[in-house]
C-alpha cells in the first residue's frame, strides 16, 4: 500500500527537494527501504554503515516513536504517516 513519509528540511536536498514522499510498504522497515530506493542519496543520511538508523535520526509512525512499537517490523496502513526528525539538543 502507499503511505506518506514526511521529510525534514535538511534531508530534502537528497529527496528531490520534496517535503513528502509516497512509498509502497507493509511495514516501517519496508517504507524506509522503498524511500532510499527512490532517493538513494538519502541512505547515508539515515543509516550508518552497519545499516542501522543513525543515532540522531528519529522515525515516528503518526505520533509514536517506532523504537517503542515494533521498530522496523511495525505494520503500516494506508492512512498512516511516517515522519523523520533529526534530534534537537545542545547547551552551553
Amino acid at each position: 500500500m502507499s503511505i506518506k513519509v514526511l521529510i525534514p528540511t535538511p534531508l530534502r536536498p537528497y529527496a528531490g527537494r520534496r517535503s513528502i514522499v509516497d512509498v509502497t510498504a507493509q511495514t516501517v522497515g519496508e517504507a524506509l527501504t522503498d524511500l532510499v530506493a527512490r532517493h538513494p542519496d538519502l541512505r547515508k543520511h539515515l543509516f550508518s554503515e552497519d545499516g542501522k538508523l543513525r543515532s540522531f535520526v528519529n522515525v515516528y509512525l503518526n505520533d509514536e516513536d517506532i523504537r517503542y512499537l515494533s521498530k522496523d517490523a511495525t505494520p503500516v496502513k494506508e492512512t498512516d504517516t511516517i515522519t523523520i526528525v533529526p534530534s534537537v539538543a545542545g547547551g552551553r
Binding site: 528540511t9 513528502i20 540522531f56 528519529n58 533529526p86 534537537v88 545542545g90 547547551g91 552551553r92
Partner: protein
C-alpha cells in the same frame, strides 16, 4: 545569507529565555526558505526543555513535539527553518555541545544570552554540513516590523 525575523517574534523568543531563567529555554522557528537558502521566520513555537538533569546548561526538544510541529507547519505551507535556545549567564555563542548535538544542516540556530534574568544578545548561526564535517557559520539577523 540572513535570517529574517519580525521584531515581535524576536522579542517573544528573548522573553522566553527570561521566563525560564536560570534554565535554558528552547523552541522552533517555522517559516519559509527561499531559492537561495534565505530564511524568513513566520512563527515561533515554544517547546519544553526535556533535559531534566541539567536544565541550566542543556536543552533538548522532544522528538514527538518536533513531529507535531513539522506536521502543523506543513499544513500552513511552512517549513522548520531553525531553532532557538538561551544561554543563562553565558555568551550568545555556540558551544561544543551545541555543535555536537546539531543535526539540522542548513537551518538556523538562534542563541540568546540571558544575564541575571535579562535577555542581552541574540545571535544566529547557520549549521553547514555534511554531518561528518559540520560547522556553524555566523548568520546575520534581519529584523523587520
Amino acid at each position: 545569507m540572513a535570517l529574517t525575523i519580525p521584531n515581535a517574534l524576536r522579542k517573544q523568543l528573548r522573553q522566553h529565555g527570561e521566563e525560564t531563567y536560570p534554565h535554558e529555554c528552547c523552541g522552533v522557528l517555522t517559516g519559509e526558505i527561499d531559492e537561495e537558502g534565505g530564511k524568513t521566520v513566520q512563527a515561533i513555537v515554544r517547546c519544553g526543555n526535556t533535559r531534566t538533569d541539567s536544565l541550566a546548561n542543556r536543552y533538548r526538544i522532544s522528538p514527538a513535539e518536533l513531529v507535531r510541529i513539522q506536521r502543523e507547519a506543513a499544513l500552513a505551507c511552512h517549513d522548520i527553518v531553525g531553532f532557538y535556545h538561551s544561554h543563562p549567564d553565558h555568551p550568545a555563542q555556540w558551544s561544543a555541545t551545541d555543535l555536537a548535538e546539531a543535526h539540522w544542516i542548513g537551518c538556523s540556530y538562534v542563541i540568546t544570552s540571558v544575564e541575571h534574568g535579562r535577555a542581552v544578545l541574540t545571535n544566529s548561526f547557520q549549521l553547514l554540513g555534511p554531518e561528518e564535517n559540520k560547522r556553524f557559520e555566523d548568520e546575520r539577523i534581519e529584523v523587520i516590523d
